[in-house]
């Protein structure tokens, strides 16, 4: 996989999440893929490290790193979660919602529970990460039933 890179003006990451806090990153292609419906991580071909969240740099290989994108596929096990009764500034409209960690085996994802009713969420259940459009042109990913 590859993606276009516009170092000077690439602020795509401002689209990530209900409220985005940072816009400039070398892994902005994550947003490009997400908009195409793909949740992607990166791997370093040199050493085999798998990165989620994705990274454009590998601390094991430094200048010898070769970074490529890969698509997160299949399902994982819910490692833990919490349902929020209060939300930080800007997230009030989203309540109630749950944040969670999904264990994909070789790596984990931090994100939100998607289409599971909150009273049915259980640690250990199988869920799948999927791209998710938000109001106002924003986008994130959520963990849905398989």
């Amino acid at each position: 996989m590859s993606g276009s890179k516009k170092p000077e003006a690439d602020r795509r990451f401002a689209k990530f999440g209900t409220v985005s806090f940072t816009a400039t990153t070398k892994v902005n292609d994550f947003i490009g893929y997400l908009e195409e419906g793909q949740v992607c991580g990166t791997k370093c071909v040199t050493c085999g490290s798998v990165f989620f969240p994705p990274r454009a740099q590998c601390y094991k290989c430094r200048d010898k790193a070769r970074i490529e994108w890969f698509q997160v596929q299949g399902s994982g096990k819910l490692a833990t979660y919490s349902e929020l009764k209060y939300a930080p500034t800007g997230f009030g409209e989203d309540l109630p919602y749950a944040i969670a960690v999904l264990d994909m085996g070789g790596y984990k994802l931090f994100g939100r529970i998607g289409d599971v009713p909150l009273d049915q969420v259980r640690v250990g259940m199988e869920l799948t990460p999927v791209a998710h459009e938000l109001p106002g042109g924003q986008i994130n990913y959520v963990f849905n039933r398989c």
Binding site: P53, S82, P88, F91
Partner: protein, 384 residues
């Protein structure tokens, strides 16, 4: 290797809405510690100022604080590691003394969380996580700790009642602490009936914000003797570690790797084990945090924390008294001041000056102080 002593401790009252500026707040702990140590400013070689800076309007707060305390031209070192800033400050102070650079160093911790509005505070809380990959999902501190509570309860079959017992203990001692922000009694039913905040944590599982300051003065063994310090308390063990910020990179949701590693280092440096600790202050920003600390520090085996609190072993009369000053759950949690307050409690215990909460003849005390959700972990072992 020569030893480093704590020769003075001070703390302000922890309050909601301190009626003064940060420099005035810092003065309160400073004044008490200086009187405690019996020193004048020319005997202080350097300062380490500790806070989480986003709660202040003042940039670079160390400058205005040391100016107000009359501690120019001595160098000042500002440090931040979220909620464990002032135990990080203690480690730096130890190293500045042990390295021979300074004979004595003052560690000033403070936080005036009421300096900014509650909306501003909320916004900053959201930026305490990984702002690129976590905050955009709508995170907050109680929900992070709640994820560890969920992970822990699920892994060991513990109950929300076990967590509530920790709050009941905290309130037992908070009533005795004149400097605590929360001094009301709390019973089990009240904890379990409290409003949910982030499942499975409820209101009574969470500590309160507070404004406060703390001050710890350390000195070389030589200076402690020269200045005739009556009851020096020695820094016997120091451990500190970090963990990835993003929970996606953590191995466990029923323990904190940074606390476990920091504890291991501190025990090794002190040459003792968990059974040798006579009194401990652990970082109980939430009830689950104290439960994890029991196990991360080896006071209980993995999964054995609930039995420890059910048997009241962490009460003052138990085998390992923990947070008998009321803990953060009662005292409140003025971020930069918290670690210094914990250190002060242990120093007073080791000197036999802890009053109503004095444990019997302690030889070793331990402080466990965490920054963020297990991002930074500091463990300090003090001895007579």
């Amino acid at each position: 290797m020569s030893k480093v002593a704590i020769i003075g401790v001070g703390q302000s009252s922890f309050v909601r809405g301190y009626a003064g500026s940060i420099r005035e707040l810092a003065f309160e702990a400073y004044a008490e510690a200086m009187s405690d140590a019996g020193l004048t400013n020319d005997q202080i070689g350097a300062t380490v100022v500790c806070s989480a800076p986003e709660y202040d309007k003042q940039r670079s707060p160390a400058g205005v604080i040391v100016e107000h305390l009359g501690l120019n031209p001595q160098p000042t070192f500002y440090t931040e590691s979220l909620c464990c800033s002032s135990t990080t400050g203690l480690k730096l102070a130890y190293s500045l003394v042990q390295s021979g650079l300074h004979d004595s160093v003052m560690v000033i911790g403070f936080q005036k969380m009421s300096e900014i509005t509650s909306a501003e505070s909320q916004e900053r809380m959201g930026r305490g996580a990984d702002i690129q990959w976590e905050s955009p999902f709508g995170t907050m501190m109680p929900a992070y700790y709640a994820m560890f509570a969920q992970g822990y309860l699920d892994q060991y079959g513990a109950s929300e009642e076990d967590l509530a017992l920790i709050r009941v203990k905290a309130a037992t001692y908070g009533q005795l602490n004149e400097r605590a922000v929360y001094r009301k009694p709390v019973d089990l039913a009240q904890c379990l009936a409290a409003d949910p905040v982030a499942s499975p944590l409820k209101l009574m599982d969470c500590c309160a914000n507070a404004d406060g300051s703390s001050c710890i003065i350390v000195a070389s063994e030589e200076k402690a003797k020269q200045w005739g310090v009556a009851q020096p308390v020695w820094i016997r063990g120091l451990g500190s570690a970090s963990a990835p910020v993003n929970l996606a990179l953590r191995e466990s949701f029923s323990s904190f790797a940074a606390a476990t590693e920091a504890g291991r280092q501190a025990y090794a440096m002190a040459g003792i084990g968990p059974k040798d600790i006579d009194v401990a202050e652990v970082h109980d920003c939430f009830t689950i945090a104290e439960m994890l600390a029991y196990e991360d520090l080896g006071f209980a085996p993995r999964g054995g924390g609930p039995e420890l609190i059910r048997a009241k072993e962490t009460y003052k009369e138990g085998s390992i008294p923990v947070n008998v000053d009321g803990g953060l759950l009662s005292k409140g949690h003025p971020i930069g001041a918290t670690g210094g307050s914990q250190l002060r409690t242990i120093v007073l215990q080791l000197r036999g000056q802890a009053g109503d909460i004095q444990v019997k003849d302690p030889e070793f005390g331990l402080v466990h102080n965490m920054g963020g959700v297990g991002i930074y972990g500091n463990v300090v072992i003090l001895g007579r």
